[in-house]
Symmetry: D3
Subunit: 331 residues, 6 copies
């Protein structure tokens, strides 16, 4: 099994019960999650040796985030604690035709307000196979943009593969800022989760077709160091019903998984991270591309049927799901 | 913003969790609601100055009903308290092909058993733009039929528009009783929520067509004082899946909204009141009829996705729902 | 109304909330059930005089199982208590495309580990019209295979009809073991719940057609004592959406009910038992076969909309469901 | 074991969580209970054959009351169902120095508004050893006063002992009305739960001493047919902390149990009924008076530690409680 | 009834269930509160016309805070909404010998980060009898110290009485900062909630005695404008058991209420605010000092028995509590 | 920090809510625990490097037990998974004078039914400072008695200290069996949790005094290899109120901590394990005996205020508790 370091912010998520508006809620369910943390948990579930590097508040909430990660077997050795708060977000769950609504409350977190990169990078990446980070981290500040590049450079120096999930969030930075960062960062990237819209709006590739594989080809021309591109195509029938289909580009070839209907969705948050985690597992365990993309799509779909941000299924369970007709009672 | 008085009974609703029969329930969720109270809350959410006139039990449950109204900004100045109980109803929520079942327990309520109209009507309607009442109030007793007429007369005298929602309930009175009342009441009405079945069964208009606009035309001929008619057409696929489409008749023209699929329904109770409240908002804020009916249909649909009897969305949220593709996560 | 004895194990069921994996659950909902116990409750709900014969742990959990049965009016006079545990199973509810997962923990139960048949059989069957047992009991052990035959023999001697639900569970015994038992047991059976797969895999009838009535004809030729066969055909669209249609074979004729869509399913466990209970009710109350199969299919469908293992509807409610368009609010 | 008929109203109790005011509650816990129903359940728990005669609403709530009784093994053969509501009461639980507050909502119940005694009294009392009724039933109406006398007369005629719990409630009738009824009823009574205040305020016995045994002596002089008097003395330190001590008068002797501290109280409602039920058990099972009063006091104390109106302990558990030092973990 | 303006921050409080550590909690209960908001609600409960001036986040949480205030009848006309977050704090409830632990997360709130006083002060105080503010507001920033003085000055100019609760919090500012502020602010104050420790540590009065009345005398000498001082003395036996006794100084006289035992405490937070609210009610309704201090102590004690930050009892309920032996069931 | 291996069974605990009897419970709270697992978690909380060696069911419940351990940072490398069930126990929580009742259901667990010691002992103890096991493991079977000795021998060979908690459970083995085992095992033990009753009933030391230190002296004479003895003295006022005081014997001296009142107890289970864990921490971190026993007593007391089997406080929190007056709100 491989050794992986995931890096990014982990937040507290407070969720009102389905059918209850946030401003009416008398109880909020507590989850902890973040894009890279969710990927870390997926990889630990698949048997890899994963460490999560981040910084959390030195209080009960930061401790809870650590407990959450550890419960899945993720090492929290590089998880720092210090002053500042734990970034928080509130979720009013959508259902049917009503969209899910998120209220972010992440300013001033211990992670976002770090004054310097506090890890010993040589040590952090020693013996590590893959370093995973997402576009949310550089979106936090100008400093984090620089530090993200430093991290990628250190990882490459240590012989790590670099996995990057573009994960563009318009509330955090502009397309211009993101595009500028990508130009600097992508030369260090080996595995890249990005889609058609990223190509067009962040990298300025001209919109000529709906076929994502064409864009991957063009992105590969610009950044020949990137060996693998991947993304999901989501057809949104309603908040409760989606279709999902994964695509993987590798070595000039595009592999598309069979599409899944997800009906009804229990909790969509983290679906993309479950996909990324499973893609990385496919790459790290030498699955062939076709198996990898089928596995990753199934893993992403399964995530939608459990509450909380992270994938909670191991490899055997994902494989069983792929092979089952998936609606029998398993006695 | 306009000044509105809504008038009617407010009740305690006790609801078993979905999938649990009333006779098995160990916990019941508590809501407060009533047709006119729900309209009052909708209008307060849209920014109007709304007072709710009713009478509740002078005990903790009556106090809870008042707290409920006030939390939405509805004035409870004309909410009286006195002896008697708070009308109650129990809901066993349907799901899928199983219907929702309601057990009424409303006899002997403080409102239904009032001995006289206890409000100073001149004061109640001073400066008020619209007076809203529904057919449930006159259905309670012979006395309430008289008092409802007196209220309408006083409202008209004070220069108020009168809004009336027919809301026929066969368990409370016969079609004959209701029809007789309508003949007396409708001459005072400006805005009327009624549908094809009301026209046929309560007003005795001959059934000749399925087109509600024809009936509105005929009703308008009988009661030329009524400026606006409105109703929803609901196609029931199952308890969990409905289609809803609103119709508004104004000034000889019929306006029909785009139909909405509601799948799955979280709580259907109060959907009609959300529609009426939004229609009145359209009329009070001088929206054009087309906008009014689209807004009202959307507001009614949204209500189905939250628990409890009343609409909990403000104007901006309803408008956003109309414009969204309504199933994205709003980050 | 008829007098019925149902016989078999009753177990504790612990269920995680939908969307929560068993290994994450901090709360488990408690139900009690078992195939024959569920049939007993159905028949008591329909007004029959039903006794449940079993053995449970002489502790709080055994007492809870007894309370459960009694609450529906089932007599627990022949319910023994003694050492050993109460068989238990854990349910992770599926939803959408994710299957339901059951973890069995039933070894060493007071029932399964009985050393002898502890009932006075003459007394047990005195005046009883129907004795109902299922294939789960003989699957428990070699001893239980013998005892099941003894029970059937005693019942026949006492003039009881014998009802048998094949209920094959591959985790308990092999097809060979089950087939061998059936050869010995079926000659005592009057009413038999079994399907096409039972005929092929347990009775070794050659697979030639998909039509269950052909198999019933062949089974009847082998066991002419069996007057009635019945089963449901379930089309599984997903864990949340099934179609269900019942078939009854009687006197050489096959009767098929109208199919029902079940969307969404709240709790599928016990659906088959609700079907069997309702078939027995039809037989015991002299309904014509057509009515019996329609009633039983509707009863089975209704069970899917309530939590817990047993049917919770009485005859009037099932009939109302059959006649309703089943999605109106019943005020 | 003896055969007992308990008679009276059973009600729905809705309780807010401790620390939550009724007017703030969003969830209410559901219990069913009533003085005589609680006694019935106690006696069934102790192994007697108990039937409960009452009338409940013919709806889901009445059905729930029946399920509740049956779950403890109480026969509901003489439990009628019909129109009217189920009497209800709401409980705001006190704690510490804050008192518990009850909101009654029992008017118009199916029981209270019966038009005639609907039971065949000969049949009701055939073979019955004890008939138990309380002062709440005659307090409901003038008609119920007459019917209660008729029931007592019929019971005596059938050879039943009559057990009566005075249970005076000032919100239901005046001391004068209650006193007048007692004069007529007590001549039929064999076992009487009443205390010093009943003697003084209802029977007009002069207040001369604090010693309840003197009053029992005087009451016995007036009603020499009464063989046994009993009551508890409760010292209220706070809502959460009480002391309880039972007294039994029999055959001219007064027996007083050891006092118990109850700290903290979980649910006080039904403590007196648990006491009465255990006294009757002592009488019916020929315990000596000393054992009876110790048993009954312990049973009453135990009730305070469980939620809901009724005693949930069997004889062995009460005896174990009496002998234990009562605070060890029983592994 | 008087007209009151309360001013200060209102926060979201998230509380883990008793016995569950914050870092283990999977559910958090939601309350809204703040010192001055709690006082506002108390005064509204007592029938005064109260407005709450503050600024909250323009999101669902800010809306919830507004709903909370309105539900008690507090006017939110001067409640502003804008960018920034809603201050939050997390509570791990203590019990027995374990202390309650609070994790504050209030930085960057919409209120704390206001750039200027956004209210029209003339309008805010027009016709107002009392302006209430606490020491938490000036503790937020240097700017808020200035603005608090401006508010007091404007209030005095408008003819308002100024009520000030010192409410010193060492995590927000130093004793020096607080003392300096008090020197500037107290000359505007009419009613002052402060205690012995405030006198010694904030005002630099020499510690010579344990008797709070001596300190009040000395404080009055320094600030002769202050007509009334008040505070509670709390004896902490454990987190679950406290004794509370209020003291009021008025016109040279000290009035001390009878002490109350509070056992067990349900929720201590807001006890002091309930005291202040009740003192102001006594002053505004011309109770004599003796009655005022008894009323306020009782009101403060009652608060400890309900969950949430604010007093939920009206005047009649507080008076009933004072006169009751406070542990009877009130049927 | 030290390296520790704890060894023993871990079980599923299902607990009814306080005030609800097991046979009435509709929900059970889920915890995982066991004597040695609880000690492991305590030591991990205090910063040691702890591994837990056990065997659990290879199903969702075994996985949950692993997640539980990992969440506290305990390594589960030596946690095996295999066939068999997870031992289970059900808890009906006592309160006040009602005792807590435990229903064990642990037969046939994967751990108890192991066929051989499956760990490579050399590897298991490599570099380990302390090996901790309790008397529950040898109580499971004759085989486990042998294996426990083998484990102790291997630990000693590897240079480990052996910690043993006698933890006598009469439902698992007789005093004779336990005594015989102790004679064989204690020669390998360095740190021994045992009390006066163990000395008298298991080791046959004559009862001459109530002073535990005398027995420690005598036990030390028999087993001079044991360096440290420790135990708590618990005074049980009621299920809700206990006093606790720890004693430590070391090097011929007895150290007794200050006694603590625990009022009210939230969850007593695991209190002894919290004590043992904290004693080991004291020994491993070279605290002086006086500090160790004070720390351990405080840690044991704190455990009683949180739900679940394990201590959830770190060293700083225990120290803060010792120094606090322990009932202030910590803002």
């Amino acid at each position: 099994m491989a050794k992986v370091v995931c890096f990014g912010e982990i937040m507290l998520r407070l969720t009102a019960e389905m059918g209850v508006r946030l401003n009416q809620a008398e109880q909020l369910a507590v989850y902890y999650g973040g894009g890279e943390a969710n990927v870390a948990i997926s990889l630990a579930n698949y048997g890899h040796q994963v460490a999560y590097a981040s910084k959390v508040a030195d209080n009960a909430l930061g401790q809870a985030a650590e407990n959450h990660l550890r419960s899945y077997g993720v090492s929290t050795e590089p998880l720092l604690k210090g002053s500042g708060r734990l970034g928080t977000y509130y979720v009013e769950q959508g259902v049917g035709q009503k969209a899910t609504k998120v209220v972010y409350d992440r300013q001033g977190s211990a992670f976002a307000s770090m004054a310097e990169l506090e890890w010993a990078l040589l040590e952090l990446f020693a013996g590590v196979d893959v370093f995973h980070v997402s576009g949310i981290t550089p979106a936090l500040s100008e400093a984090w943009r620089e530090w993200t590049i430093q991290l990628m450079q250190a990882a490459k120096t240590a012989g790590c593969k670099v996995s990057f999930d573009s994960n563009y969030r318009q509330t955090l930075w502009s397309q211009e800022e993101a595009g500028k960062f990508l130009q600097t960062a992508l030369p260090y990237v080996d595995y890249c989760s990005a889609g058609r819209l990223d190509a067009i709006h962040l990298l300025g590739i001209e919109e000529t077709t709906a076929d994502v594989s064409d864009y991957y080809q063009l992105m590969h021309q610009r950044f020949p160091n990137i060996q693998v591109f991947f993304s999901t195509n989501r057809v949104v029938h309603s908040t409760s019903v989606n279709e999902l289909q994964g695509t993987l580009w590798s070595n000039g070839e595009t592999y598309t998984a069979k599409p899944y209907l997800i009906d009804p969705i229990v909790d969509r948050i983290g679906g993309g991270d479950a996909f990324t985690g499973a893609i990385l597992h496919g790459l790290l365990s030498q699955k062939v591309p076709h198996e990898t993309i089928e596995f990753a799509t199934a893993a992403a779909v399964l995530k939608h049927f459990v509450k909380g941000d992270c994938n909670q299924f191991n490899e055997a369970e994902v494989l069983a799901f792929m092979q089952s007709d998936s609606a029998k009672i398993h006695r």
